[in-house]
């Protein structure tokens, strides 16, 4: 038993020391500054990969490896997400039982607006993602919501992403302390280690993009959500942003949170904001 007490005391003192070290910076950095964060985030990747064109970062692993890029370009000639796209288009055109359609729930009929999602809803005081907005639209029109990790949701977001292809990511953070808090919460989630593997999102997507983890090449974090939803050969099916977050968690042996949990909405907000200015390339095809 005594060994364990030493251990706990040891870790407490270590934590105290760590806190003392960071406290001056914590006070200085207390004011959340998304603009500076985004600039630093983008510059980190631009400097780390000087010969990757800025807009190429949205192609994830394919911006990191030539052999993989050729296989991707071959797939893109007739991409496997073609069926999800057609299904999404059809669902958009099919009215709900009450006669309304998705177009009635979204600005500009839902066409060419994906780059503004997720947005901060000042009434609700929370981040609203595209997947959440789609399900709320269904519920508002008396329809049952779709699972966040299954094909129907992926088809809808695939079609909406397709109508925004090439548009530059344009996420806004209103001057509202709750919005800044959501951004900061998303950033904290992104850098926090979790699971028995003790990895954070950054362990893979900031410290080692371009390197291999088993057969896969790790994608850079910059622009990583611009291609959502993605058809993954490994799933031989479509994957929404929610499905990607949930599977990433379980791969570090962390029990995933429920889809569209606040943490997931905030980390999507953070990752999308820091990718402002990079083109939407969804729906994407990935290994």
């Amino acid at each position: 038993m005594t060994a364990r007490i030493h251990l706990l005391l040891g870790s407490l003192s270590a934590a105290l020391v760590a806190f003392a070290l960071t406290s001056p910076r914590v006070i200085a950095a207390d004011k959340v500054d998304p603009v500076a964060d985004a600039k630093a985030f983008q510059n980190f990747f631009f400097q780390k990969f000087p010969n990757v064109k800025h807009e190429d970062f949205v192609n994830g692993p394919y911006s990191m490896n030539e052999d993989m890029k050729r296989q991707w370009q071959e797939k893109e000639e007739f991409p496997p997400y073609e069926f999800a796209l057609d299904a999404g288009k059809e669902m958009f055109a099919t009215p709900f039982k009450n006669g309304k359609t998705y177009a009635d729930c979204f600005p500009n009929g839902g066409i060419g607006i994906r780059q503004n999602y997720p947005y901060f809803d000042e009434k609700e005081g929370k981040v609203v993602t595209l997947e959440l907005a789609l399900n709320r639209c269904r519920e508002a029109n008396g329809e049952a919501p779709y699972s966040y990790v299954k094909d129907e949701m992926a088809s809808l977001t695939a079609y909406m992403a397709y109508t925004s292809r090439g548009e530059l990511m344009d996420i806004k953070i209103p001057d509202d302390p709750r919005a800044l808090a959501a951004f900061e919460n998303g950033k904290r989630y992104f850098y926090t280690r979790r699971g028995q593997m003790n990895f954070s999102c950054a362990s893979c997507h900031v410290q080692s993009p371009g390197e291999r983890i088993r057969a896969e090449i790790l994608a850079p974090a910059l622009g990583i959500l611009n291609a959502m939803p993605i058809y993954r050969s490994e799933w031989s099916g479509m994957g929404t942003t929610s499905r990607r977050f949930v599977t990433c968690n379980s791969q570090t042996r962390a029990v995933p949170l429920e889809p569209q949990a606040d943490e997931y909405r905030d980390v999507e907000y953070f990752l999308s904001y820091v990718a402002n200015g990079l083109p939407i390339s969804g729906p994407g095809a990935r290994p």
């Binding site: 052999d67 296989q71 057969a215 896969e216 050969s233 791969q251």
Partner: protein, 163 residues
């Protein structure tokens, strides 16, 4: 394979050898009957798709053996991004091509796909195949009644976390 010494292993090897030959024999018997030009007619080459290894499959499909040729350009990735979807294509400058087939050596069944090329159709095909593991992809082209082959190894590993 455990490397045991002494008489025992040699007897076992002989037995295994005998069993193998018998199987092969069985495999050939029914095939012997159907015409060698199985590839040319309309029938789906059921027998060829049942063969486990590449040599038997080629024999079952074409009834002859192939010789490597540098006039076949086989395009396949060095490391497959995913064993389930491997883009593989072939073009050839050989003429009077009547058939192109793809074999994945160590797949459960070696023959993956076989294409009949009527005259007037360009001798080139692109497709996406499944590969069980790192192995040789072999493209066979039947031109003017003779068989030519091109081979390339493609590395495949089980996907891990997903980039």
């Amino acid at each position: 394979m455990t490397t045991t010494t002494g008489p025992l292993p040699t007897r076992r090897l002989i037995l295994q050898g005998a069993a193998g030959v018998a199987l092969l024999g069985l495999g050939n018997l029914p095939f012997g009957a159907s015409p060698a030009l199985a590839a040319a007619n309309d029938k789906y080459p059921e027998e060829a798709f049942k063969q486990k290894n590449e040599a038997d499959a080629i024999k079952a499909l074409y009834g002859k053996t192939a010789e490597p040729s540098d006039k076949i350009k086989l395009d396949a990735p060095e490391i497959a991004e995913n064993g389930g979807v491997v883009p593989i294509s072939v073009t050839t400058s050989l003429d009077k091509v009547t058939s192109i087939s793809f074999f994945v050596a160590e797949n459960p069944f070696a023959l993956a796909a076989s294409y009949r090329i009527p005259d007037g159709t360009v001798a080139a095909v692109a497709n996406r195949l499944k590969m069980a593991k790192t192995t040789n992809v072999v493209a066979i082209v039947e031109a003017d009644g003779k068989l030519y082959s091109a081979t390339k190894e493609v590395k495949v590993t089980v996907g891990g976390c997903g980039g």
